[in-house]
């Protein structure tokens, strides 16, 4: 698919920006550089390409409250990734790994301008190269989520949500309700609430299905299955579609992916349910060796499960599991069992496998 727009448009500033509040500040107020010359090389000497990488300095003067919250958010700090990697590397090796984290993983963090001014450099699904400014450098209060959110989260979530992957049904919230990312993930969540959560599951303002579907709460539902299972099963166990699982990653080489649909045991204290849909993440001991120069950098791989609770963006109102009890109770293949595990994988996966439920007698089906 050809990229949208001509390459030069990535750098084209619209006249409308020049008369806007931000435009009146002048280019060098944020970007520095040498405005007195027309020689491109000389003009860009000392240029600050992403001024909001220092949000307090670039944006905090006028947007102090939101900037202060944002600098603690996961979007800006990438703290969730950092904590995940630290657990895999261990305290001793972290000092030798931190630079790799900062150079590679943390480069994914988002600044104010990355969403409100710029476009991500590319999105693989559909494969469209974007990058550059969003709208002639105008500051966009509500960015187009398919470009900004989708540009970074397209490897899995956005493509699942929109049905771009073959074999994945698009999410019912997308197909029936035309909802976008920000319909559930509010600005308060995306900008942070001022706290410093350890990872995305610990975010206090994260969405919950019950926010919009309170009548599905266990004990309050007219559906028997909700009342029986709602305390122990995550909604996605019955309403989630397949999720994209990845295997055998070596920081870019040899990774494969396929849709999986497995129910496993939750070990994350931030999730209140006992059982949830699981997704395999492609962690291997040597995954970031190329970046660290060490051998088997992730020494704690056997302490952290590589099957993790999934947050499917393939939700369906009706699935085979929501329709009949048999679909789960007489279908052991739906459950993550020891036989599903790769013996060369993380030994911690043993903690998330689960025995299938006992088959129901015919009278109760």
């Amino acid at each position: 698919m050809p990229p949208s727009g001509a390459p030069y448009e990535r750098k084209l500033v619209s006249p409308a920006f020049l008369t806007s509040t931000h435009g009146q500040l002048g280019c060098t107020t944020c970007h520095a550089g040498q405005p007195e010359t027309l020689d491109p090389k000389a003009a860009h000497r000392g240029l600050i390409a992403r001024p909001s990488a220092q949000p307090e300095a670039a944006c905090g003067g006028c947007h102090g409250e939101i900037t202060s919250r944002f600098t603690r958010s996961l979007h800006f700090t990438a703290r969730g990734m950092e904590n995940g990697l630290r657990a895999l590397v261990g305290t001793v090796r972290w000092a030798q790994t931190r630079h790799a984290f900062r150079g590679a993983c943390q480069s994914c963090h988002a600044t104010c301008g990355d969403c409100h001014v710029s476009r991500p450099p590319y999105r693989p699904q559909p494969p469209t190269v974007l990058g550059g400014v969003l709208d002639g450098h105008r500051f966009v209060k509500s960015p187009p989520t398919e470009v900004t959110c989708g540009g970074c989260h397209s490897g899995r979530v956005a493509a699942e949500f929109t049905g771009a992957y073959e074999g994945f049904p698009a999410d019912v919230h997308f197909t029936k309700a035309q909802m976008t990312c920000t319909s559930c993930h509010t600005a308060a969540q995306l900008h942070g609430d001022g706290s410093a959560p350890a990872n995305r599951r610990a975010v206090r303002t994260k969405p919950s299905c019950l926010d919009c579907h309170p009548t599905a709460a266990p004990g309050a539902s007219r559906l028997r299955a909700h009342n029986i299972h709602g305390d122990k099963l995550a909604c996605a166990v019955c309403h989630g579609g397949p999720v994209k699982s990845c295997f055998g990653c070596h920081a870019g080489e040899g990774a494969t992916s396929r849709p999986t649909l497995k129910i496993g045991r939750n070990t994350d204290p931030n999730i209140k349910h006992v059982y949830t849909l699981m997704r395999h993440v492609p962690t291997t001991p040597d995954m970031i060796d190329r970046l660290t120069g060490l051998s088997d950098t992730l020494v704690n791989v056997d302490r952290v499960p590589t099957w993790k609770p999934a947050t499917p963006h393939t939700i369906q109102r009706v699935t085979a599991r929501s329709r009949t009890c048999d679909a789960c109770h007489n279908n052991p293949n739906l459950f993550l069992r020891l036989g599903d595990l790769d013996p060369r994988g993380s030994q911690a996966n043993g903690r998330v496998v689960t025995a299938p439920p006992r088959p129901l007698p015919p009278t109760t089906r």
Partner: protein
């Protein structure tokens, strides 16, 4: 024939004209030198940045083509 009073009036008019001209010259110079422009170092109306970044003809030969997409399994 002008009286002494008339001479004084004309003299005042000439002085006022000179002062006005002097003030105008100072203002003109201030604007010309940029002293009366907004304090921002790169005001939109006179920025070298904008000379290029608002003109397709200036940008087109300079901006690189889109980068190649990563292959499946990369990135």
């Amino acid at each position: 024939m002008m009286t002494g009073g008339d001479v004084q009036v004309v003299s005042r008019i000439r002085r006022a004209g000179l002062l006005t001209a002097l003030f105008g010259a100072v203002v003109f110079l201030a604007f010309s030198l940029g002293l009366a422009a907004p304090p921002a170092p790169c005001g939109p109306a006179r920025s070298g940045c904008i000379a290029c970044h608002t003109e397709r003809s200036m940008l087109e030969p300079l901006v690189q083509p889109f980068p190649a997409l990563p292959a499946e399994g990369e990135g």
